[in-house]
Assembly symmetry: C2
Homo-oligomer: 264 residues x 2
């Protein structure tokens, strides 16, 4: 079972939830399974903190974080897992079936990892854009004929699995296809904010280098975010890459501004 310190490093993030009663139900399920960090990104209704459905968890709702975007919500996280079903799309991220999640999360919690479990809105779940902030997609194994779950129930099922199965002492080794972001030597983990910073500098570099037509930039931006999460650089590696691209960018910009210094 999870220790207090491990639970303390797992955030539940809701993206644009619409119904305050569902947000309250999420808070209740979190309290049921011993989790306390809720973040609501870009909420739809303003009055969600008063949801009566948060039975036994009004404080959790009052202390929840409220961020303008998913990027802000997961900025401090080192491993971000979106949730959903696979009916309508083929995601860019590795897919983990919920019953296989425990050993993966346990490894991500080592070395002060901080995990975000991200849930989409009731209307359409996580978008492709939302998923580009995620390292993996957790698939809840629902029936093909009725895959869409109620938000509060989806959160309850995921937290039950995480709370009752995750264990650092779990010596079951997951299949090779499921081992993601696992450095041979433990290295400091990279926050999402750091990856976003790196992606931003790389994008500027691409633009400065006229890497691709302006029309392609949103697609590149998406692919880049997905790529960085797939690569999963350590914090040190990310800082190195950032230094490199800043240097390149500075050179590109200055060469642009001072054509005399452009290399021949």
């Amino acid at each position: 079972l999870l220790t207090e310190s491990q639970r303390d490093r797992i955030d539940v993030v809701l993206v644009s939830p619409r119904n305050p009663l569902n947000i309250g139900a999420v808070a209740r399920a979190m309290a049921n399974f011993g989790f306390s960090h809720l973040t609501v990104a870009a909420p739809y209704a303003p009055n969600w903190r008063e949801a009566r459905s948060a039975i036994g968890a009004p404080d959790l709702l009052l202390n929840a974080k409220d961020t303008p975007s998913l990027a802000d919500a997961v900025a401090e996280s080192t491993f971000i897992a979106g949730t959903g079903t696979l009916t309508h799309r083929k995601p860019d991220q590795p897919v983990i079936s919920l019953p296989n999640l425990a050993p993966i999360l346990a490894r991500q919690l080592v070395n002060n990892g901080r995990i975000a479990l991200v849930f989409g809105s009731e209307k359409h779940g996580l978008t492709r854009e939302d998923l580009s902030h995620c390292h993996a997609l957790i698939q809840i194994p629902t029936d093909d004929r009725q895959p869409s779950m109620n938000l509060g129930q989806a959160v309850a099922v995921c937290l039950y699995e995480v709370a009752s199965r995750t264990s650092l002492n779990d010596d079951t080794t997951p299949p090779a296809c499921l081992t993601i972001q696992e450095p041979a030597r433990p290295a400091p983990r990279t926050t999402s904010a750091m990856l976003d910073l790196l992606a931003g500098v790389i994008e500027q570099t691409m633009a400065a280098a006229a890497y691709s037509p302006r029309g392609m930039q949103p697609a590149n931006q998406h692919d880049l975010r997905v790529l960085l999460r797939r690569l999963a650089p350590s914090a040190l590696d990310a800082r190195r890459m950032l230094g490199l691209f800043r240097r390149i960018l500075w050179r590109l910009d200055s060469s642009h501004k001072r054509p005399a210094e452009r290399p021949k």
Copy 2:
């Protein structure tokens, strides 16, 4: 994973649910995990079949069974598991932690077993009387500080566990304390209705034999139901016991009516 035939032999039973929205949420979770047999015992509100929360599952709600009591709801079942937490009481039944349930259910499904998963009302969960109809209590491992779950979320968590973990091919042997009602040779399973019939005849026999004061009869009734489920007689054994007690009862009654024939 469960086969269609196995899913078809698992009933979800709600005892006196109060809020139709919760009943609808239960139906939705059942559809999500591929279950279709819902029974509502002694419902509180009359209009529950129209619950709007049964998204993707209106037919399931329309086809649900409606019984006056829990005994009627589980009459055809051969293994009945109540659900709840253990905060306030020590149950008479064996307790199974939800994460350990799968191999037990798999064995109960062999040989045409029919399983009922029973959930209590939102107000107070299953009563001691309700539990006396159960062979075991499934404990959802919730946090001690906030053990009480929303009904729809509790059902979702249990069905997720059953649907994604139960497998007849699962060769993990449960710990000895968890192996209940497992005959060495497979014998036809006993329905709850048969056990109730047997209990009724035994009670009459006890009364006819003036076994205990009238004031003790409710307590005896409860203990007897619990005892029969703990013993878990096969259908054949139950029929034998029934025959025996009917015979004893007939003798007691006739000896009472015809004092001349009473043995000296």
